[in-house]
């Protein structure tokens, strides 16, 4: 057989080049971050789906019941202004997490990060006596005398007040309970079922379909980004200018947009082919069991008890 292989392909890898000493790493750090985020999206979707498909007691509850509970609990959390009631609610939600057999440590770590930023740090200044008057329990700055400036009155002793702390703690617990209960529902309900439960408040099927498609494309897009990154990574080595990487990435982004448009058009064709005529009809899983009613009763009664404490 006549051999037409270019001569360089016949050389072995060792005989070609001596690799220069590695002085610095190839500049892919921002790409690495992008892919890390992208991979995290995929991972979290998988984890969510895996958790939701478990057949534990909380996962088995009808998604409609969970959706009603979510709205009900959001109301309870906002109307309860007593610290003991909020702490009781925190304990109740935690008990649900145990029943759902979720990775409590991992989930609560996320919840606490969110809550610490939005429910504590952001509102912490509100506990100062400059904003919330009251008895100072922890002084920060002590001036020689109080100051009056325009409509502002700066006291001699600036610090955290008891009332302020109570307000911040209440807000913190409200955010904590809201976030943890919402995540409990998200982690224990298959996403498609959860979306479909919006039907009970009259959200049209077409809108639900759009949300489902968007969710699906986040997944597909994340995978595309990941694959694109691996393809780039496998061919890039050494020192590459950032400007060149930017060119590559922008080219890929254009490609992804173009693919999205084609995908959108063809998905429309696929829908038309299966009878879509402008209005979507989805079925909803409205199969209620006795345990669903019991779960609903438990939630409602717990809410009432918490309000009455």
């Amino acid at each position: 057989m006549e051999n037409k292989i270019p001569s360089y392909l016949l050389k072995t890898a060792n005989s070609q080049y001596e690799f220069a000493e590695v002085r610095r790493r190839s500049r892919l750090s921002f790409l690495d971050k992008t892919i890390l985020n992208s991979a995290n999206v995929i991972k979290s979707i998988y984890i969510q789906a895996e958790n939701a498909s478990k057949r534990n007691i909380v996962q088995r509850i009808n998604p409609h019941v969970k959706f009603i509970s979510l709205i009900y609990m959001a109301i309870i959390v906002s109307i309860v202004s007593d610290l003991t009631s909020q702490i009781t609610l925190t304990a109740l939600i935690f008990a649900f997490y145990i029943l759902a057999r979720l990775n409590v440590f991992q989930v609560y770590r996320k919840i606490f990060i969110l809550t610490f930023v939005f429910g504590f740090l952001v509102v912490l200044p509100a506990s100062l006596n400059v904003i919330t008057p009251g008895k100072v329990i922890f002084s920060l700055i002590i001036f020689d005398r109080p100051y009056h400036f325009w409509v502002y009155n700066i006291p001699q002793n600036i610090g955290f007040t008891q009332n302020g702390f109570q307000v911040v703690t209440l807000l913190f617990l409200r955010v904590l309970n809201s976030v943890s209960f919402a995540l409990l529902i998200v982690f224990t309900t298959p996403f498609p079922s959860f979306i479909k439960s919006f039907k009970i408040i009259g959200v049209p099927d077409t809108f639900l379909m759009i949300i489902s498609l968007a969710y699906k494309y986040i997944f597909i897009l994340s995978r595309t980004i990941e694959d694109t990154y691996f393809a780039l990574k496998s061919r890039l080595s050494g020192n590459i200018k950032n400007s060149n990487i930017r060119k590559l990435i922008s080219g890929r982004i254009f490609f992804i947009f173009k693919r999205s448009v084609i995908t959108y058009e063809n998905t429309y064709y696929a829908m038309v082919s299966r009878g879509y005529q402008g209005k979507i009809r989805l079925h909803s899983q409205s199969h209620f069991t006795i345990s669903d009613f019991i779960a609903l009763v438990i939630i409602v009664v717990s809410g009432i008890v918490i309000v009455l404490i």
């Binding site: 489902s212 997944f219 064709y269 696929a270 829908m271 299966r274 009878g275 989805l282 079925h283």
Partner: protein
């Protein structure tokens, strides 16, 4: 056999500039297995789009069961619905084909759009899940399926509409050998059950397996020949001219062979 699909003098171009199909004339009979073969870019998928009335030709007529299908005729809700119920299309790209939240939703989508009562739709869906041995996927989100599973769900999603005609674009693309065998047997079974099946492919071994009537699309977007599998595969000049066969080398042990790439006629083993 009675004619169910007929295409007369079809011309189609992209953006009015890039020709995709030229002077296409085809006729498919009820219950027939029909294949459109050709290279990538020859216009096979576009032709299926036109047959399924997803796009409309620049000129020429598409007839379905004796009626001319036009954009206007499908605007009538009943005619449109009837047409969609009678003819289904399995796309090559399964991420496009599967757009519902879960597998069960996919199976119910078609029947529900066609106003089939929910109880009957669910019954069909359950039976189809069981028929294709994918009951375990029922509540799975579609983006979490493997390639083979997606293919099974895709065919299940159109079978629940109980179509008379099944259009399949590249049936075996990206499938492992086991799923390929499953799909070939399924197509044969459905054809035996009376379904008209039209599929596109560039794999000559697939038409050897399924023995359909074949139309050959050439690079210039015209149909070069229509005939039985043996008539097509024995026409060496035709297959070379449309680039469906080419000289290639392969080995038997240490012995090398060089011949045209069609085991059907040129290299029987």
């Amino acid at each position: 056999m009675e004619e169910i699909i007929s295409l007369r003098n079809i011309e189609y171009s992209y953006y009015g500039k890039i020709p995709a199909l030229k002077n296409i004339n085809l006729s498919v009979k009820k219950g027939e297995m029909f294949s459109i073969i050709g290279l990538n870019g020859s216009g096979k998928s576009t032709l299926l789009h036109i047959i399924n009335a997803l796009i409309f030709p620049d000129s020429g007529n598409v007839m379905f069961d004796g009626n001319i299908i036009t954009e206007k005729s499908l605007r009538d809700k009943n005619s449109g619905m009837q047409f969609r119920q009678r003819m289904s299309y399995i796309f090559q790209n399964l991420d496009i084909q599967l757009f519902c939240p879960t597998v069960f939703d996919e199976l119910l989508f078609g029947p529900l759009q066609l106003n089939i009562p929910l109880v009957e739709a669910k019954e069909r869906a359950e039976q189809t899940l069981s028929y294709l041995s994918i009951g375990y996927l029922k509540e799975r989100p579609v983006y979490m399926l493997s390639g083979g599973e997606k293919k099974r769900v895709a065919i299940a999603s159109v079978l629940t509409m109980n179509p008379e005609v099944l259009l399949v674009d590249e049936p075996l693309s990206s499938l492992d050998p086991k799923t390929q065998t499953f799909f070939i047997e399924l197509l044969l079974e459905l054809n035996d059950a009376g379904k008209t099946i039209i599929f596109t492919t560039h794999q000559l071994d697939l038409i050897e397996h399924l023995q359909p009537r074949v139309a050959v699309l050439s690079d210039d977007h015209t149909i070069r020949k229509t005939g039985s599998v043996s008539e097509i595969l024995e026409d060496k000049e035709l297959l070379i001219s449309v680039n469906l066969i080419h000289e290639h080398i392969h080995k038997h042990g240490n012995e090398e062979h060089k011949h045209y790439h069609s085991h059907y006629v040129f290299h029987k083993h």
